[in-house]
Each structure stands twice: as C-alpha cells, then as structure tokens.
Symmetry: C2
Subunit: 152 residues, 2 copies
C-alpha cells in the first residue's frame, strides 16, 4: 500500500504567510459547478473548449440575472477553490523544486482562492449553463458569471 | 444647482434580489489600487494599455508572493468594487432602458462585486506594481494577481 499523496502538505522551500484574523469582505456562493472531476488528480491541467460538457447550476434566486447571457458564445466564470490552502506565499514545483511567488502562478493555493476561467457556452437550460472548458472539481462553489469580450 | 447624479438608485424596470443574511466565504484585501480616478464619473469605460500608469500597492505581508511576477508582460488583476450595490439582478441601460441580467453585463453591480482586468506590467518597485490598463476608482481593494497566459 502506498500512502495517498498529500496535496496540502507544504514542500521544502515553500514560504508560509500569516493570514488576517478576520475577513475584509464576504462572498455569496451563487451556485455550484458540476464536472466529471471528483478528485484533484482527475482535474486536467487546464480547461479545453473541446473538453467534456460541464454544468454550471445557478441558484434559483439568481436566475433573473441570466437574462441575455444566452446570446454570448464565451463566458468568464469566477469560482471559489474551496479545497485550497490560502497561506502559502512561495510555492515550489513538484519536479524541479523551482520557487515561484503565489501571484506569479495560477495555482489554486492563494490568499483568496478565486479562479477565473473562460468557457464556451453551449446552451442555457433554465438556471443551468452547459459549457466546455472547465478544469475544476465537481461541486466547486460559483461566485460570478460575466460575458467575455476579450480575445479567445 | 443641479442635483448630483445618484449612482446607487435603481432605475425603472430594474429587478432587485434578496441577498443571503450571511456570507459563505471571506475575502482578504491584499493591497490597494491607486488610479487617477477619484470619482465614478472619472473612470474610463474600460482600461487601455496606452492609458496612464496606475499603481498596485501590495501589502508588505504578501510581498514574497510577487517572486517571479516581474518576468510577465501581462497580469490579471482581481479587485473588489467596494462602492457597488450587490442586490440588482436585472439592470437597465441609462439611455435605452434596455434590460440585461447582471450576469450578462460586466457592470460593477453584482452579488459578488469582483472585477477582473488584464493589465500591462511596466515594472515592479518593491511591493508595488506599475501597470497600464486599469479603469477602477482610486483606493479600490486588491484581491488577487495572476500571470495572464491568454491572448491579448
């Protein structure tokens, strides 16, 4: 039996910071994201517009806020990486041991673990978006949706 | 004397939602953004890579997390639009009265008023980034910095 890999243990050379005692602002989870990725090791390294369909389930209370989004081909999704540590300021690569500051990485580990992904919108069914291009864990809390107007 | 414009008053046709009583997660402000825009009416409609230099002042406690970011030409900045209402689900355009869901707009007014901007990194001085491409109010709280790897 091998030990399961501990995603949360700091690696040699990593620098931990002290987080504040209290938050400066609050987030509301406005829905959840359903993907085929149940465990961190299942997640692809980044999303792919030709990848599997994923579902973004918006809470019924926020459904009116989707009006007009169906006309967009691409959507920016902000979500909260609720399984990630928030206190590592310098991270090292698993293979090389090379050190990078957290803000020079797109790793989930960061003081405010908010991810931003651009997804391809296939369709909207009620309060659920069917999209391609996500790489996050199944059950990830949704924070925001915005039309994407930048280049693809 | 004309009345000052009330940015916060809902317009006819707008739909208000009920926000939860308690937050689901907390944000830490990791610094602040200094721009030439003191009032909302001073902010350009969107950022411009040829616009004025702005300063992103990261708190000293998080400075180690900048390691390696100086090599990047473009940075994604997440910030908290602390002056915006959070409870409007359908918004109407000031001129036409046309209605759009909040998630079909990039307006600051949204349940979680987090903005995402891509900026051009000019240089880093200590814990301060000098950048171009921001359109936010002076004093806006900073939430996150990530290297931008997408197309520009």
């Amino acid at each position: 039996m091998t030990q399961p890999f501990d995603w949360d243990a700091p690696r040699p050379g990593e620098v931990l910071g002290m987080l504040p005692q209290t938050a400066d602002a609050g987030l509301y989870f406005i829905g959840q994201i359903r993907t085929p990725y149940a465990r961190r090791e299942d997640c692809p390294h980044q999303g792919d517009f030709d990848g599997p369909e994923c579902r973004i389930e918006v809470l019924a209370a926020y459904q009116p806020a989707l009006l007009g989004l169906e006309k967009r081909a691409y959507v920016q999704v902000l979500y909260f990486m609720h399984k990630a540590r928030r206190d590592i300021l310098v991270q090292t690569k698993r293979g090389s041991g090379e050190a990078f500051g957290t803000f020079a990485l797109r790793s989930p580990v960061r003081p405010n673990p908010i991810a931003s992904s651009i997804v391809k919108l296939e369709r909207i069914e009620g309060a659920t978006l069917i999209v391609r291009g996500l790489d996050c864990l199944d059950g990830t809390p949704l924070i925001d949706l915005k039309p994407w107007r930048g280049p693809i």
